[in-house]
Symmetry: C2
Subunit: 565 residues, 2 copies
């Protein structure tokens, strides 16, 4: 799709017909905020003409359409879509997302550089443009067992890869502040390049120290006050609306025209069910406008400002010389994509069918001994027991303390008080270590749910009331190479196999979406009240998000950055 | 001045005193537009703390000062300051200019890569940060004789130099549109990198073709309408206020908050007399505000937006992790720098004295045979004569036609009609070819002025009424290795030697400034009415600026891009 400079110049000047011309649409000019009636001429993957009339070899009528630059998701883990990069492409590109800046740290935690290379190879073959940030914290901390570890020396050889944009979210912010040698080695290796951040609740001078280490962008602000502090301290703030972490409502007051050049949008983690029901960045855009943000500010954040923040000088505007990433909308407010071009390719069924696929990696990655019911017992003498308190729609948890009296050397789940057992079992074939504890917030009354999607180490995590059902669900995931399962009364009620690294399905996204619907219904049958129990579960094991989490090594006090003894 | 990450983190967190702390000032926050009372902590060349209170090993009281990010001149030819990069540094850095993105194409036209390397070496030793764009059009066209020529293969080895930012102004815009092989080779070699533009009056689809070739920034717009078209087509527009080309008044209506993220400031060509009398970017800033532009928009254009436009992610904001380029002002409106830090160094006499100098290059570069009076004759049969019409304060000229009847085979100058002789004589030791013609606008009544600063080929150019005085002035420049001279009645009335490539003095900028005052006065004594005759003269030989110019090969019709026969 790359054309010679001669072709670009001649077609831009209108000396010869352009390859594609979008006729009769109106361009939303993100510089002036005006809607401008103009043709848009395209040569190969590049826009060559605007603000003029063009003839095209192919002309696409855009009467009634508003043309905006393709949307840029500035931070996400494609693995959270539970499908391959190719299915993710087919799922979200038709919604107008033409660039995704992904951090493949889920798969990297399972299989290391093989997983990153898989994404790099896939990214060269998708219709949308996928850029990869190199996962900076694999594992996220020293308090978990992952399938792989990546050091500075592992990452450095990939830093000049043309599809790589520096280091991905530097989650181990305590490690930065404490000047952990491994952290500093990575920061030093990427000094002067783009380093993305992740520092929830970090404020004041500690935030200054973190930013001074060279970190440029951040997406963990959950209040407007926190986001504004980060912005004013020079970070580009990526407003996130994931399936669990939903920050748009809190941050939308910041999305003014004044701030818009310095704000971006991202989804971080979003599953196909959510995408089907609500959308992706398109959902963020229409929600932000509905909440009162000016369309100019919102569309800048969705494209031009994002491109600038990540140094993607070749996109973000419908203008000559830019990538032909263009979305034809019904209206700015509704943001329904009626036409999408990604690098000059119309994102239709034919385009998706024409892609050359890359074979999946990391098959048979769920390696552990058969799980037995008694392994879910929770010993302990003290009645005062730390309990993970879920905040629905947040990945931050509360640290609760409940009095739970041991019976026969086991602190039992207590559905009446909404106290479920949570257990994490190492599943990378590294000894099968495990930890058990309590969680409040699921509302579960019986049975169990299990998952191998469990950030970031992706060990096997089980939440349940009944130990036999917990073992059943866990063992089912051993058989199907990972995924999700719901069990009760000695039966598997619903499941989804995720054989690519225990994280991604090999099936079309529509099938995955339907399976998630069935899983959600099955979980509700157990009394679960959370809207997205598997997604919420997935973040209970991530020890870089305050306040109380659990890994295969034990319960983690994130604020003190230590495992509870 | 580069410090370890450990030091940056610890000083940012306030665990140990910062190296320098600016106390009691107010920071102009370019994100929100607010003035914020805060300390600013600095470690080495980097800001590590804002929005907080810090202790410093050295504390600088900034009571009553407003702190803004250092100013970035986004396009200039340091040679036009007529002093070395070191004297330029000493002249403008104390005014708050902490970054200069220069195009050394004046010296490159004299001595090629040697000149570019001289600037690269000097740039590593100045207090301010000088970045170099590689001169794209040496010579500017095929219609002139320069001292050197640079092809794509010459430039490519320097493209990854850490102080290089892509290609400098691509002046040969007709060459781009006509797909000249040499032009396309350079554009292709730098495809995907920063390529700066230069396309005065180019509009419509021809502009589209030019931008589509990969050109990102531009500084030649002289009307708001032209600048707005370039902006909307994705170019970053650099508003220019040079000593001759003054576009600020015309473009300031565009300098709104909405556009400000996409606008920059530049000086292009500015001499020390002008800098002393009016200022540099500081002059642009206070003028823009006086003309009604919002201070937030102006200061963004002067720093943050400039940094973003050129991918200098390490500067443009007073924020942790950014270069400690900070200006302490008396007020936003007056923009007088009372304190300047460049990369953490206070820009004072001691800092300038501590620099390690680089030896000058391109001495004895004015190489031509002795000039004789009769060489200034202008033969021709037709009375209808093309005349270069000067527009004071513009580098664009008018193409006039005057009836000038030959006498004895020579069309004589006619002061009564303001028709002076102009002659360009090749001075790079390449045969001494010459051309003669007419210019209107100097108001000269007698004598002659001569110069070797004559964009971009920098041949010897003489304007005069009296052929003997013209020869005298020209021959004086042969003796003093180039420069400026004013002659009348058989005497040299004033002169300035520029022995570094015939372009730059080896003297302090204060001496150069005084010499320019004397030259200006001497020229006025000849009846010259132009405010800056030598600067205006310098652009009469530049055949990439419409409409009529003259080189050593002849009079050039720029619109038709050909030499008049």
């Amino acid at each position: 799709m790359r054309r010679s400079l001669s072709d670009l110049i001649d077609q831009g000047r209108g000396l010869v017909p352009a390859e594609i011309v979008l006729k009769n649409g109106r361009v939303f000019d993100l510089i002036t905020g005006e809607l401008v009636q103009t043709d848009v001429a395209i040569c190969g993957d590049t826009i060559v003409g605007t603000f003029g009339s063009y003839d095209g070899l192919r002309e696409i009528d855009c009467t009634g359409r508003i043309l905006v630059p393709g949307f840029i998701d500035t931070h996400l883990h494609i693995e959270s879509s539970l499908v391959t990069p190719f299915e993710f492409d087919r799922c979200v590109c038709p919604r107008g997302i033409t660039t995704a800046i992904c951090d493949p740290h889920e798969i990297a935690n399972v299989c290391g550089l093989d997983g990153i290379r898989y994404f790099l190879e896939a990214s060269a073959r998708t219709v949308m443009d996928i850029r990869v940030q190199l996962s900076s914290c694999v594992p996220s901390t020293h308090m978990e067992t992952s399938g792989a570890a990546l050091e500075a020396a592992d990452l450095a050889p990939l830093m000049d890869h043309p599809r790589v944009i520096g280091l991905a979210e530097f989650m181990n912010f305590p490690g930065v502040l404490m000047k952990d040698a491994g952290c500093l080695a990575k920061l030093e290796a990427f000094r002067g390049r783009h380093i993305d951040g992740h520092a929830p609740l970090l404020r004041g001078k500690d935030l200054n120290g973190y930013i001074a280490a060279g970190i440029r962008t951040e997406h963990e602000a959950t209040t407007a006050e926190e986001a504004l502090e980060k912005l004013r301290k020079g970070m580009r703030v990526l407003i996130r609306e994931g399936s669990v972490s939903k920050d748009l409502h809190a941050l939308v007051p910041l999305l003014t025209e004044r701030h818009s050049p310095y704000l971006c949008l991202c989804t971080d983690d979003r599953n196909p069910l959510d995408i089907a029901e609500h959308g992706h960045l398109d959902h963020m855009i229409r929600t932000a406008i509905r909440l009162g943000a000016p369309p100019l500010a919102v569309y800048r954040a969705a494209s031009l400002s994002a491109a600038e923040a990540f140094g993607l000088k070749d996109r973000g505007l419908i203008a000559p010389g830019k990538r032909a990433d263009i979305v034809g909308l019904d209206s700015l407010e509704d943001c329904h994509a009626m036409l999408v071009l990604a690098g000059g390719v119309v994102a239709d069924d034919a385009a998706f069918a024409a892609r050359q696929m890359v074979a999946p990696v990391a098959r048979r990655s769920v390696v552990l001994a058969e799980v037995r019911a008694e392994q879910f017992r929770c010993p302990g003498n003290l009645a005062d027991t730390p309990v993970i308190g879920i905040l629905p729609g947040k990945i931050i948890t509360e640290r609760l303390t409940e009095e739970i009296v041991p019976q026969d050397g086991d602190k039992r789940p207590d559905p009446a008080r909404d106290l479920a057992r949570i257990a994490v079992i190492e599943r990378h074939g590294k000894g099968g270590g495990r930890a058990t504890g309590f969680v409040r917030g699921f509302g579960m009354q019986r049975g169990a749910i299990a998952s191998t999607v469990c950030h970031d180490h992706h060990n096997l995590t089980v939440v349940g009331i009944d130990y036999e059902d917990m073992a059943l669900a866990a063992n089912r995931l051993r058989e199907i190479e990972g995924g999700f399962a719901v069990a009760a009364g000695g039966r598997i009620l619903a499941e989804l196999a995720l054989p690519l690294a225990g994280l991604m399905s090999l099936r079309p996204f529509e099938e995955v979406r339907d399976a998630l619907t069935a899983l959600r219904a099955a979980a509700r049958g157990l009394g679960v009240t959370l809207e997205e129990p598997f997604l919420q579960l997935a973040f209970l094991a991530l020890p870089v998000i305050p306040h109380l989490k659990i890994t295969d090594r034990g319960m983690v006090d994130v604020d003190r950055f230590e495992i509870l003894s």
